[in-house]
Subunit: 186 residues, 4 copies
DNA sequence: GATGAATGAGACTTCATTCAT
DNA sequence: TATGAATGAAGTCTCATTCAT
């Protein structure tokens, strides 16, 4: 594992555990076992380190979402699969979930960075757009639909991870159905 | 305006603008025009100041939600009214929205504080519970339903405030309907 | 002695001994015995501390220059007196001399600060201007004359302090005469 | 251009622009396009690099000073020529002027280095000594005379480069005359 | 109630330099 | 000759908080 990867992995760990606010560069130094200067050799500054990690995770998430999508499936079946793909990615990678959520909600994070990284889940965006065009999904602005659906996934995942709710096949099935009911027409 | 209120108002202003992360006590001192010691006269420490403000805002929000609920209305009509009440409170008080959202998402905020302040919207909780018991709402854990609905409201408000979507009567109507479709049975 | 004055005195001491380059805030902290925060309570930043000290010293120098100037004296006599006043101030305050010289030569020092502090020796400036107007001094731009004369004083003082030359009444007399010969007409 | 010369040229550029204080090795690395290790291959350390550059520039300056000195000229004529030679060298090489001035004024620069490089303008030194011995120049210690004259040149050059004064043939002529008047006897 | 000078730990970052390749 | 990843001490500055007035 390269020093660069050690730094990124440690940062993920710390932000997940403590949040951005409490994740200091000194902590990253101590936990990752690299020298202070090494961080600044690989990253312009703390912000660049965080943004880089965000970008990498967002890319990973984007790949996970469209995994195993059979083109033969109908729209609703694809919707259910994508929803579950995202859900599973988050649940299997709780630290990445924490990071991405914390990052997404941070007011100090530059909008521009978020927009650049939209490309990583362009497939999901195209899927939503096609649903609107085919008259299957509500005629909401695409962004709004994305935020509603992703928000639903996050809500469930967060509650499971915080042990405020217990996961079951039935719950998952119903949660996806609920999400589908909120965006489908009729 | 008392010194105490100046401090609270300034804190709201700053957290809304900069987020918790960047809202330092010295900034509050400078902007509010009070002396450092004065803050610690009225509040135990920074955390206490933030928690106090959170509690006051949450109470305000709780009152706003149940405003003008006519007992004559049927369940769905009440749902629509409550949803719109929350939406309107947030949109009319964008700084309070920012604060409450940032607070809710902060991982360093103690769960215990959040729970204590649930009492401020107990009426809304009771309304959801009755909906489940009457078989009108999906049989999800109450918390999950609350999070889904409140999450939907936040998603719409955030996008409007960030000017990523434009508000219209039709959009609002459809957004509430979408939220209703996701939680109602059938 | 107030904390603020302790900081200023220590800074003067250190810059004189080590130069700006090597005078770190940590060194000032250690030697002055104040806390880090105290420096930033009294001064905006390191630059502000340095600029403040410069301004105070320049003021002191300005006062020293015009000390004991008898209006009865003729122009040349006044010139000799002012020259010697500056010379004596520097020689009696070698640390202040070092600081002012180092500051004056620092390329990173803002011109604006230098200009603001010209007011502290406005009397000397007026004296030079009157000399030009009366046809006693060479018709050089005032700034140039000032720099030539002050430069001559500094050259002598620096060599004495570095023990590259030995002070005597005769040397001083001749040095002033040399400076006078360079600026007077004829 | 060899790597070594690239490093020296870049260092000159940076010191001229930013001063020693702000000219870091990493800046030299970035601007010169060489690797960190390369600098330490050619120079023992940063100090050695600076001292080497100083020595080269001082040598160049020494050569420029005595250029075109016709042995037929009388003492005063030679004085004027040497003065103008130095002046012209500085004005034609403003970055070298900046570097040499900054170096000369840096308190952290070792005296020993300055002395070693005196040899580069030994001709000028000998010229001054002969002037004293012949009773043409004031009977000041040679160092003092050198510092006075070089100081006069620097004062004029600095003001021209900073656009605080405008160069003209007349100004230059008078400036040299002024300098001459300050050191000549009678 | 209110002030603001003072604290010192810890924040982020840059520094000159080394060394295996 | 040349590279550039790695070092870790030291840089400036901000932080939340205290306490004598």
């Amino acid at each position: 594992m390269s020093k660069r990867d050690q730094i990124l992995a440690t940062t993920l760990e710390l932000v997940s555990e403590l949040g951005f606010h409490a994740t200091s560069v000194s902590l990253i130094i101590k936990k990752s076992g690299v020298a202070a200067g090494t961080i600044y050799h690989h990253f312009k500054n703390k912000e660049d380190l965080i943004d880089t990690l965000y970008s990498e995770l967002k890319k990973e998430m984007g790949n996970a979402i469209v995994k195993n999508i059979d083109t033969q499936l109908n729209y609703k079946e694809k919707f259910f699969l994508i929803w579950e793909n995202l859900f599973t990615f988050y649940l299997d990678n709780p630290k990445k979930f924490d990071f991405l959520e914390d990052y997404a909600n941070s007011p100090f994070v530059r909008k521009e960075i978020k927009e650049i990284n939209q490309r990583h889940y362009q497939a999901a965006i195209d899927f939503i757009i096609s649903g609107i065009e085919m008259g299957i999904l509500r005629n909401f602005p695409m962004d709004f639909l994305i935020n509603l659906i992703f928000g639903n996934v996050s809500t469930l995942v967060r509650m499971i991870l915080m042990e405020e709710i217990q996961l079951s096949d039935e719950l998952l099935e119903n949660a996806i159905q609920s999400s589908w009911d909120s965006v489908k027409i009729n």
